[in-house]
Each structure stands twice: as structure tokens, then as C-alpha cells.
């Protein structure tokens, strides 16, 4: 069966399958278990590809759509931390997302401002963050807003 380089190349270049590809035995060497696991693999690939293609065509391109909400306010060290959740309902990932929280008193005056940065906020996902304040946010209104992001 030894073939020379030149012959192998000629055959490859001709785009033909090697003729010894048809062995005497045609029985499948795969066991039923192999078939089963193989089918699982096939199903996984089909599901993933199907989902990705669906995701690509079902959502029009748009920038990240962000919703910020305060989950809770806890004492932390000498001050307080406002635990914040950022929800991205858009089909685009926001990288280096900066968020800002401001404590506002009854007269509309700014009492204190804090920021936090979220490395990645994936599309259709949420991430948590914390904003520290020296004064008790419970006694003021907390205004939250995203400042900016970068494309990943």
C-alpha cells in the first residue's frame, strides 16, 4: 500500500478519494452507545446553531437597552452601600459600562454621587453592582443612570 509522495499528490490534486477507502467489511464499527452519544452531540449542535441563527434574525440591531434598579441598601463600614442591578434588554453587549448613583434631597439638591464600572454587561443579561455612600440613602431619593459604555 506504500505510495510515493508524487502519486499521493497527484491523487489529491485530482480531487479523488483514495481507492482503499472501501474496506471489505461494511459493518459499522460504532456501538449503539456511540450512536446515542453521537445523536446527543448532533442535537446539541443543532440546538445551538438553531438558537444562534434565530437570535441573529429575531432581534434587530440596536444599542444596549439598560434598566437600573436599587435592590437594597445595607450598612457597610462607616457608610452605606446601595446594591444595584443593571438589566440589559438590548441585543448588544456593553463593555466598560459606567453607572452613576446620586442622592437627592427633598429640594432637588445633589447630596452625594457615586459611580461603578461593569466590565461586561452581555446582551439580554443582568449584572449586579454596588454604590457606596457616606450618608444613608434611605433618607434621600436615589437617582440611577448609566454614564457610558464601549463596544466590546
Amino acid at each position: 500500500m506504500a505510495r510515493s509522495t508524487a502519486r499521493a499528490e497527484a491523487r489529491g490534486a485530482a480531487g479523488r478519494k483514495p481507492r482503499e477507502d472501501a474496506p471489505a467489511s461494511h459493518a459499522s464499527a460504532a456501538s449503539p452507545w456511540e450512536w446515542l452519544v453521537g445523536l446527543v452531540g448532533l442535537a446539541l449542535i443543532l440546538a445551538a446553531v438553531g438558537y444562534l441563527v434565530y437570535a441573529a434574525f429575531s432581534t434587530p440591531e440596536s444599542p444596549p437597552q439598560l434598566r437600573l434598579s436599587v435592590e437594597s441598601v445595607e450598612p457597610s463600614g462607616d457608610g452605606f452601600v446601595a446594591v444595584v442591578t443593571v438589566d440589559n434588554t438590548g441585543p448588544t453587549t456593553a463593555a466598560a459600562l459606567e453607572i452613576e448613583g446620586t442622592l437627592i434631597d427633598g429640594d432637588g439638591g445633589v447630596v452625594e454621587t457615586s459611580t461603578a464600572t461593569i466590565d461586561y454587561l452581555p446582551r439580554f443579561s443582568q449584572r449586579g453592582a454596588g454604590l457606596f455612600f457616606t450618608r444613608d440613602p434611605g433618607r434621600y431619593r436615589i437617582a440611577l443612570r448609566p454614564l457610558g459604555y464601549a463596544d466590546p
Binding site: 489529491g12 483514495p18 464499527a29 445523536l39 445551538a48 452581555p122
Partner: protein
Amino acid sequence: MARSETSSSSGMDQAFLKGLARAFAGALIFALPMLMTMEMWALGFTMAPLKLALLLVLLVPLLAGMSRFGGFKASAGWPDDVIDAFVAVAIAVLAASVILTLFGVLGRDMSLDEVIGKIAIQTVPGSIGAMLARSQLGVHDGDEAEDRRRHPTYAGELFLMAVGALFLSLNVAPTEEIVLIAHQMGPWQEVGLALLSLALMHGFVYAIDFRGQHQVEELVTFWSVFLRFTAAGYAIVLVVSIYLLWSFGRTAGISVDSVLSATIVLGFPGAIGAAAARLVL
């Protein structure tokens, strides 16, 4: 449908389980660097869904081709090779899911989109590793498979080089360093790196006497071998590089100059991978 002798089924099952364990080990060994790379996690949700889908679709013939041309085990034909490919995929998905969950990269509060993306991108190196393990850590090949491995066709050789290039390039393609290195290099350094890649490829496979070494016949001149294998192989390496850069969104809005430079940088590990594939596979 699947046929088998029921009398020997328990023996076959045991062999199959061993094969699965081997594939799982392979998926871990080869994919672990990528399972522990932050950029790979991020790619799961930053990569364009269609590009990720394309990568998964291309993965199947790639794995089946590895099973065939790599001659990893005595396989009866293409159907078996395709089954092998899907088995490798299933194992890789399992390995990635388990490890990423343990690492806390996957969590219950994450969207389906994020979870699918993170696992899908890791399936690529994982399944290649699973496929490799069935050969490298495996039992003795059948004579036919052995013959195919020792004397692959020219197309088979080029294919294996592409697999090697893809595998090693994939390790570094998602990282920031590729672009950074490309920015740091001047034109002469780029030419130098391209020449070094070519020289290493040529030296690795066709000058060193080694297992998997292509038999260079006396009549075949240096230039003939160089053009047909090394140059052709490097061309494949560059195509693989540019495909990965495009897939990972590293070509969008970037000058042709910078893309070319990044392609050469990524082509360096690719060239080593392509050359090593001829030694290892």
C-alpha cells in the same frame, strides 16, 4: 440503524466508556487554557451569533475529517467518522458545562443567550481535544487507519495542517495581545516573523527525520517540497488566521494594513500548529 452483536455488547460498552473518558480527558487537556481565559468567556456573548453558528457548522466536517485523515481509530467509513465527530462534540459540551459552572462563569442568573454562547465557543477547542485524545492516548490503530496516517493524501496533509493551525491559533486569537503585538511591530519585523514562520514550518516537518515525517524522495527538490507543502501550508495558515480574526470581530473597522499585520502575528502560532500537526497527528 445501529447493529451490534448483543453477545459482546457489554465488552463494547466498556471499551466505549473508556473511549469517552479518554475523550473527556482530551477535551480538558486541550481546552483548559481556553476555559480559563477571560476573553473566551466574553466571546460567548460579544461574538456575532451568525459567526458563532458558522464556526459550529464548520466544526462538524472538521472533526469528521480529523477522524478520517488523522486515522485516529480503525473506522469503517465516513458514517463512523461523522458519529465520532458528534461524540466529540457531546463530550466537549459536557466538559465545558461542568468546568465553567465550577468556575462560576456560568450561573443561574445568566441569560440563556450568555450560557449558550459561552459553552458553544468552548466546544470548538474541546471537541478538537477530544478527537485528538482518542488518537494520542488511545489504543493501537487498525492497519488501514495506520496506513492512511503514514501515507495520507496531499489533500489530507493540507487538511491536517489546517486543523493544527486552527487549534493553536484559537488559543491566542481571542486575546488582546495579538492586536497589541501587531501594533508594536514595524514592517521589517513583520517580514521577519513571516520568514521565521515559513522557515520553522519547513524545518519542523520536512527536514527533521521524525514520526509523521513526509518521505522526501531524492528526486524531489527542495523548491518542490517547499512550494507544495511549506508555502501551501503557510497560505492555509494565513487563511485560518484571517478567518479567526474575522470571526472574533477583529477585522471590523480596522485598516487592511493592521489586519494583515495581525494575520501574520496570529499566523506564527498557526504555522507551528500546522507543522506540529504533521508530527503529532
